[in-house]
Subunit: 567 residues, 2 copies
């Protein structure tokens, strides 16, 4: 395929995606479930086989600077090492190769770069089942979530980043004829505007949800002409190694230097995070991961740009509702989803001591905060009672540290509050050695803020009783401002309360979902429609996806000269 063909092949889909970004309507070119793939059975069989072929083998990645091999992944489903090793690359060699790769790429027309990257989307999609299995056996997600959240939705977020990059690049004229009088003379200049990439971007990916942030970040950096070095969490490498492999092969086929995308792996014992951020050639950092390192990156990346998504305490405010059971079911589902190992999972649930008004009109009644908490705990317990259903929704626990944290907080809860629902391991019906835990729910007062005043990663939540609904909103939004927060959830049948909450959460910078019940997971974030992270609180400084996510990844350099004299 030549350049024109590549651009033409993907133009319609990119235009359609641009429309969706503008209208924020629901759209995706991909099916939401693996069973809905064309030729689903064969594709699923072959994808699984492709994943299994990686196990116990060196991963083939022909990139520069290999000084050894690394690999320490362990499946949360089997408890066994994946036995895959990857290149351990010399950092300087990667940066040098990346730097050298940029000039040709940056000189290509933005439309060609976007075309090449849309081709990457297609190729990742072709390997989506293999990638989903890789996510499952590293991050610990269920197959359906791996496919949707770490597969097709992540691809959608990638396309979305390309739309914004195209907009930002397209806003700059390529040249101009400029003419003005200076005194008696007229000066006519021809001006040329070049879009110059910042240089080498580094993309950190996290252990529990690697592709969803990585793909849009990589697309944003590459579309604007930069090279990308991927630095995966050592626990979750395979999805990113496959990603790097796909980018490299598509870039090479299109005639570009594959070293535009490389993998920089480290080990838990010898992390390279700080070194890579402070490397003199590091020009952009995309970081998803812990608050602590994310804050370090924001403070220390200079002169590199930093785009971060870390974590926070996502809050729920319950004022009143139409249907107590429906609300509890929805909240319970979200508390269970992937064992709350998502940056969008709620943690702090605020309940007014004055009670929750349920229903309206003559049927309205006030339910005590305690009873609401018990109902919620019962809804969670019901969801995870049956191992097959538990497996579907909870999946596994990515890190053994989460189990230790559950134990620690159970103790604290017993001492300083009450355990509303205890956590236990559940037997996974297909994977007997899976690392599992049902949700731990604690009831505490606002005096125990040190317990819930930070992200407690994993299936841990707090029901916190406040003076009244107004206090609940105050407490919740204060948490967000102080500790960060991405999502927020409100139940209220009172429009004035809703309006106040919308304003308060807007100031705090959390994306608010109001009165949602039914089958949609409360924390579901749709590409092209839902903005992810506001940048207004410590949970991260970058948003998927707005113009700010792409606009500073390239710069404009001009040259100007007298226009040739006309004959």
């Amino acid at each position: 395929m030549n350049a024109e063909q590549l651009i033409a092949k993907h133009a319609a889909r990119l235009d359609r995606a641009a429309t969706a970004c503008r209208t924020r309507e629901c759209w995706s070119p991909f099916p939401e479930l693996p069973g809905k793939l064309p030729d689903a059975e064969r594709v699923q069989r072959e994808g699984k086989a492709a994943f299994e072929a990686h196990l116990g083998r060196p991963f083939a990645l022909d990139q520069p600077g290999e000084i050894g091999r690394l690999g320490e992944e362990v499946s949360p489903y089997t408890g066994a090492p994946l036995g895959i090793d990857y290149p351990h690359a010399d950092l300087d060699a990667l940066f040098t190769a990346a730097r050298r790769s940029i000039d040709t790429w940056a000189a290509a027309a933005p439309a060609l770069r976007t075309g090449v990257l849309m081709e990457v989307i297609d190729r990742l999609y072709a390997r989506v089942i293999e990638i989903a299995h890789a996510v499952m056996h590293t991050a610990g997600q269920s197959m359906n979530m791996s496919f949707a959240g770490s597969g097709v939705n992540a691809l959608d977020r990638g396309i979305e980043a390309l739309v914004y990059a195209r907009d930002a690049l397209g806003a700059v004229a390529t040249g101009a004829r400029w003419e003005r009088r200076f005194g008696p003379a007229t000066i006519t200049l021809d001006k040329t505007y070049r879009l110059v990439p910042r240089g080498v971007a580094v993309c950190f990916t996290c252990a529990s949800f690697p592709t969803w942030n990585a793909w849009p970040s990589m697309m944003a950096s590459l579309a604007t002409g930069n090279a990308v070095i991927v630095k995966p969490h050592p626990a979750t490498v395979l999805p990113m190694a496959i990603t790097v492999q796909v980018f490299r092969s598509v870039l090479a086929e299109a005639g570009f230097d594959p070293n535009l995308v490389t993998l920089a792996l480290d080990s838990t014992a010898e992390p390279i995070g700080m070194k890579i951020v402070k490397h003199p050639d590091c020009a952009i950092v995309d970081f998803t991961g812990s608050v602590r390192f994310g804050q370090w990156v924001e403070k220390n990346a200079h002169p590199a740009l930093a785009f971060t998504e870390t974590a926070g305490v996502n809050t729920v405010v319950i004022d009143s509702c139409d249907d107590l059971d429906a609300m509890c079911r929805s909240l319970a589902t979200t508390l269970c989803m992937f064992s709350a190992q998502m940056c969008t999972s709620p943690q702090n649930i605020y309940l007014p001591a004055t009670g929750v008004r349920v229903g309206c009109g003559a049927d309205a009644r006030t339910v005590a905060a305690d009873e609401v908490a018990r109902n919620l705990a019962a809804a969670v317990a019901a969801l995870v009672e049956e191992p097959r259903k538990a497996a579907m929704i909870l999946a596994t626990i990515q890190s053994p540290q989460s189990l230790a944290l559950i134990a620690q907080l159970r103790d604290a809860g017993n001492k300083r509050g009450r355990v509303l629902l205890d956590s236990r391991s559940y037997p996974h019906p297909e994977w007997p050695d899976a690392r599992t835990a049902t949700p731990l729910m604690l009831a505490v007062s606002t005096a125990e803020r040190d317990l819930y005043g930070e992200e407690r990663f994993g299936p841990i939540s707090f029901c916190i009783t406040t003076r009244d609904a107004a206090d609940a909103l105050d407490q919740a939004t204060r948490d967000v401002k102080e500790f960060g927060g991405l999502t927020a959830f409100l139940y209220s049948t009172d429009e004035a309360t809703i309006e106040r909450a919308e304003a308060a959460y807007a100031r705090a910078g959390a994306q608010l979902t109001i009165n949602l019940t039914g089958p949609m997971p409360l924390n579901f974030a749709a590409a092209y429609s839902d903005y992810h992270v506001t940048g207004l609180n410590p949970a991260g400084n970058a948003s998927l996806t707005d113009l700010a996510f792409v606009a500073s990844r390239f710069r404009i350099v001009q040259s100007r000269r007298p226009a040739p004299a006309t004959a």
Copy 2:
């Protein structure tokens, strides 16, 4: 005027400016010379009187937190203090007032905010002569430059920032209806997207060119819903005090809190720069000034965003030219313009030891580097020989420190190179006590890089002989990358050399002007057409004006809720 009328009043001009930003053609709604103002004579007389009315008086600025009065301005033209004092405000009081002012402003429609700010442009324009005199007697510019560079061009840069802010804000939908199937059910959500400002912006302005960077920065922050505290250099307060007064009165007339714009003055003895940047309510910093403090701001502003323009060494590479005299005249003019106290003034002039090829074809000859340098020095000398002409172009020296620096570098030049052209004071024909200095030009070799390897603020330049033209380009672009650089100038009749230079300066990140001769000042930067600062080298991280200059000054916060059931 109500909101609709205000928006309608300015719509056509803003649309016209948007077209210019897109095409990068030459456009301005303002005349370039004070004499071309409508009713010029009266307007100039009244503007001068308005300026003079400030002298020796307290400046009326009814803003909160006044704890005393400050004022230490001295006119570079008269050597006498202006005798104006301004409020010395308590920082916490300013931040608190600014924070309180934001909500109503942020809730206003973006189009209304833009309309109000276009009205500010009109009101600043109405006081442009008064402002020009204020710039003259603080920054030391000539009347014509004050009017053009610090008056109408600065207004153009302000309008340009409004265009980009409008684009970035307008790219976000205000709401959406989103509908998707989840299993057997359909979920329909109404989504609302709010544009939320970051908070309180601080705008640092410099002593020598205050309004040109300040107005676009203020417009960018305010249009996106933020408040602005202006922190002027204590030597150049009056232009910014008038600015703050104009913003405040227009905001108040439009029904907004005037504390959206306030003035935070400090003194040379007790600077507040670091304190204001590290204030917990500081959300955005715009900084124009020294490299040292600018770098500190970039590194330490977090969590505030930093937009900087500092300085660098602007370079000239002379390879070959058609007309030696025309080239030398143009370079000489630019070396003299406002005594090279502009961030765009050239400093390091690279000449090949192999000589400069002049003319083409049979008439071509090679002129020794030394002779070119002597010609250039002669062209400068000719420009400043006659006091009246010198006054027009050199104006005055803003800071006594520049005179000390000239003396220091004259000594160094005598010891380590050669003084090509010595600096002297020239007698200003209208202002006998004016602080003046003609340009100092030194000839040095590349061994003296420590002399020219940083910005030497004021009328100081270096002719540096290199091995050949290729070496000249290498040296020059290395300077830019290492020490920063905003503008660059090339003379070459060879297209291959031009192409190499364009690529090299694009990588280094300096805006390149090629082979320009004639009446246009080489370092003239046109709003709507010329990008100012690339952000690719230490001379600053922000560009006037691209989407990146505005896109991150606001964030997007959404709320979503089930759509009302249809009847």
